[in-house]
Structures are given as C-alpha cells and as structure tokens.
Symmetry: D2
Subunit: 141 residues, 4 copies
C-alpha cells in the first residue's frame, strides 16, 4: 500500500520566464510528472486503454500556493501525499521543496482532485476507481 | 474605474494533449493573457520598470475548477472580475466560457491572488499597489 | 487560389525565458498558429476527420534562422508563403516581422515541410494531398 | 576534452498533443536540456554571470528532421555531437533515439548553431567563445 511518493526534477531554461523564475503554469506540469511517476510506481497509468474503453484521470480542481520562487538549474523535490480516496475521486497534496542550492526550502504547496473517468466513443463518464489501482493506495498518515 | 474585462482566445493545437483536450496547465496561461490585456487596457503592465526598481505582480495563490473540456479550435471567452483589493494584493476571478462551437457553456472558473512586489538588485519585496494603478480599478459588483 | 497568409500575434509573458526574450521553441508554436489559421482561411483543417480516417499534416522537417530577439508585448506579424507543392508534401516559408514597437524589423525566417498522412486504426500512412485542399493553394510568386 | 554527450528523458503527458504524439516544438526543449546538461558536465553554463556581463549562447539557426513519432512514456535518448567550433559559434548535432519501448529506433535528428554573446546593460554583442569553455570541447570524430 502506497500513500506517498517523491519525484526530483531539475528546473530547465524553458521553465523560466522574463522575471528570471519558473513560470507559475509549470508547477502544474511538475506535479503532474510526479503524479504520473507515482502511477507507474504501482503499475498503473494515467491513461489506460482497456479494450474499447480508456480509463483516465482528468483534473477536477487544483489549488496552488506559491511561497518562494524557483530558478534555472534549481533542484526541486516534489512530494506527493494521498489525502482522500472517494468512490470516483482522489485528492493529492503536493509539497515542492527546493533541495539545491542550499538552504533547503519549501517553495510551494498544492492540492489536486482527480476524477476517474471512462472514455468510450469520445464520451467521458465518471466511473468508480478500478479496484486494481485502488487496492494499492491508502491515505497518507 | 474598471472592474471587469473580457478576452477571447482560440484554442491552438499546441494547447492540447493526447486526451484530445486542452491541457490543464494551459488555463493558467489563458487567464494570464486575459489579466495582462486587462492591465494594458488601463495603461498598466504586469512588469513595469520604474528607474532602478521593477514593479511586478507575482502569483500568491490560485484555484481552478474544471467543469467541461476545451478542444482544438474552440473559441473561449475569459471573463476577469476584480474580487478584492487589499493594500498589497488583488484577487481576481476568471470565468472561462466556450463560445464556439455552440451551445455556449461555462467550462472553468478560477480565483487568483497576485501580490505587488518591487524588485531591486534581484531582491523581491512586497509593496503597496501603486496609486497610479489602484485608482483605476474597483471591485466588480 | 491562395499562396500567402498573414497572422498577427502579441508576445505573451509565458513565451519568454529568463534571458528576457521569446524562447526559441515558441517560434514553432507561432508559425503553427499561422499555418492553422491559413488552413481555416481556405476551409481546411490540420486535423480532419473523414469517416474512419483522419487526415493530418505532421511535420517532416523545419529550419529556423533567428536574427533578432522578440520581447514581451511585442507585436509580431507572421507571413506564410507556399513555396512548394508536391504529391504528398507542402513546403512553407514563414517570415517573422516585429511590427511593434517600431522600427519594423525582420526577426526570423523559417522553412517547414509538412507531409500529408491518413491515420487509420492508429497507423499513419503518407497519402496524396486531397484535391479539396490542393485545388485552393498555389506557389507564391 | 569532450565531444559527445548523452541525455535520457521520459516523454511526459504535457509533451503530447491531440494527435497522441510529442508536439514538434518539444524537440527543441528536449535538445536544449541535453545541451545544458552537456554544459554542466564540463563546468560551464548556458547563462553565466561574469561581473557586470552575462555570457549567453542564444540560438542562431536550427534544423530538425522528424522521422518517427514519440509517444507518452516513451524513453528517448538524446545524443549530442560537437560538429563545428568557430571563433564565436558552435554547431551541434542531436540524434534522438527511442530506447523504450523496443525496438530501439532513430526518431529525429537536428543541427543547432549557437552564438556566444556578452550581454551588458541589456545590449547583446557576439564575442569569442571563452577559453575556459572552448578548451574543454572538441569536434566529435
């Protein structure tokens, strides 16, 4: 049973904007890479073809609080915590921590709710989280 | 005095992902374009050089709720409302509405808090919103 | 018969990088928006579903020469010219011109070859350019 | 003396577009990550502050040939070769190879010329490649 996951990432040149820091929209890409690496770690995938149906996890709602900026070539650790598991939705918390250069600092925090859906013939319908995935995750303590 | 602003945008190919819809991180780019067009409409700019000091409006916190997907070549109207003006922060609401193809539908809603800062010698410090800008905006009714 | 097309675009904050200029990867997004607007102008689309087959125009090769940088809120005019039409490929030239602020300046130039393909059951195969589109375009003089 | 460098990368969800493959503009971001990792490997940086002057390596020209598509969660190896060293410019070749899933396949190839510049008071001027960096690289055989 997994409830936490850590993903490390180096800030790239193309992540930055003219203010010299990581553009705020990139944090969503960063947390998504962490989330997808988390799925791979338990043998799941964010986009899974299952016969004629695709099972996906589109985003329902996200909140992100930015505390400190991130800069080019900073090393950032993204920490995922499973915060809520409901029939058709999961809520994750993400903590962003700059680990290089020192001192280590918390730079941002986010909450993300994803919704489990089945896609058939182009139509999307919310469905219960498949047992195959649900059985592998639990709430972080 | 301005309290609302509307910005129209066409969904581009590069906004989409393999699920065939606009990637969730792009909504932040869309609302930012609307916000910056709003600043231009009142003669302000998100990044304003003022002698040796740059005045900027970095993001403090954002929440976005996704109701319906957007697709390639959809036309979307982004509606900005000024929701709160404090000494050093402003809170905006953004309503995303797909206007083409019909029927017109609300597709997403976001709340964004920006913080006014002065940047001098690479150091960022929160400062009161300059009167030159503050005097032009008011809370949307 | 159309052989040229002009598309105008404002440089957005998220197009820039820490060097304070538009990131070089964004020029490909800019030329693609111009190309897709060109298709729409003749009633065609870069991604066209035709029964069970999708007709698409993936990129075969591109060259871009960067002469001058573009900055935030610059206005840029992207000028498309049809340079070559073969059975299954089209070659476009794109000229990027900054039109605001003055003086007007050529900032970049690109050559792009696109390949017409049919996609069926997930497999991609090059096909002749459909007459419906081919009949509307000609080489720029 | 270094003349080659290999960088490995996993295709992320946000790299893809509605055609289900990596968007062509992302190859430039991929090759840039490889290039910057190459600079770090020899103790150099693409953006180096040196007193009041910043030394940077903006792009002069790039060509990319796309042979096969890349998909979500593919593992790609980007191989950099130093192809030409002139007084103020360097030309790199990049070979993109999908290494997972098998079979291993060459998917794209690019040539990139970068120009060494000094930036002082916001003005950019081409300068000779600093000996500190030039002494560490050589033409790939």
């Amino acid at each position: 049973m997994v409830s936490e996951f850590v993903h490390r990432r180096l800030v790239e040149f193309s992540d930055t904007d003219l203010a010299g820091i990581v553009h705020w929209s990139r944090y969503f890409v960063f947390m998504e890479s962490c989330e997808h690496a988390f799925y791979r770690s338990v043998g799941w995938s964010v986009h899974r073809e299952n016969g004629e149906r695709t099972i996906a996890l589109p985003r329902g709602e996200v909140t992100c609080r930015y505390a400190k900026p991130l800069k080019f070539e900073d090393e950032v650790e993204i920490h995922l915590f499973v915060r809520e598991i409901r029939e058709k939705t999961i809520r994750y918390e993400f903590q962003f921590r700059r680990v290089k250069p020192e001192p280590v600092e918390d730079v941002a925090r986010a909450l993300l709710t994803v919704v489990c859906v089945g896609v058939e013939d182009g139509r999307m319908k919310s469905i219960p989280i498949p047992e195959e995935f649900r059985s592998k995750i639990e709430i972080a303590s």
